[in-house]
Symmetry: C2
DNA sequence: CACCAACATTGACAAACGTCGATATCGTCG
DNA sequence: CGACGATATCGACGTTTGTCAATGTTGGTG
């Protein structure tokens, strides 16, 4: 299980029923695990949360570094993982890179976990 | 971030709003990350899925080892992580240990991810 | 009691991860 | 053009992870 070689999360989750409803295939389990792994870090959860809750629902790296308490390269690293996994989008305007939550991306993961 | 020192997932998720609704605290992000980390492995996703989909919604280690293609100690290891994280319960009957999905545990994680 | 089967625990090892400092890239402003 | 500011990439490091073989534990059975 590496964090490299993602499918965007919406592709991953278009595949199957909630995992508790019927036995998931090995391949789909691997894909879902990759998406979850991208989320399974405190810094990345906070990044998603901060981006979504930020003014205009977008934020640049400079908005995130200080409140997160991590260095700029580390923040860029985490953001890249979230972009590659399909949770965030990146838009460059001037010198700044603005990140946004991709609508529905978290929901498609949630849909696979839910049992009701 | 270690996989040891869990709170049961239902405690973790009783804490807060969906992460995209308002900025999550560092502590709650750490707890949610621990729960997600317990799920973020292909073998463990398949275990949850197989247990939930199994006859009578329970399964023993011997039911899981062979279809999963992993050794018995490895399967026990993964099951312990899922029990500690509050996703599975363990009941011993005779020589066998039966695992069940704890109702609502997956849903409480899903509730924190969902945005709609 | 002695043996066996199911499961848990331990110890070891390679692979992957999170973080950082240093450096590279790219757009802006003088 | 040259300097600067925001961000990305690289290389390195200590830590955590997933897996296995070997061993321990516990309950049933002869």
């Amino acid at each position: 299980m590496t964090l490299t070689g993602f499918l965007p999360v919406t592709d991953v989750t278009a595949c199957c029923n909630p995992i508790a409803r019927e036995a998931i295939s090995a391949g789909n389990a691997t894909n879902l695990a990759k998406s979850l792994r991208a989320l399974a870090d405190p810094a990345r959860i906070r990044l998603i949360s901060m981006v979504a809750a930020h003014e205009d629902a977008e934020a640049c790296v400079c908005d995130l570094t200080e409140p997160l308490g991590l260095g700029q390269p580390t923040v860029s690293h985490h953001l890249k993982i979230l972009v590659d996994a399909g949770f965030l989008s990146r838009t460059k305007r001037g010198t700044w890179a603005y990140y946004r939550l991709i609508p529905g991306s978290l929901d498609s993961v949630a849909r696979l976990l839910v049992t009701v």
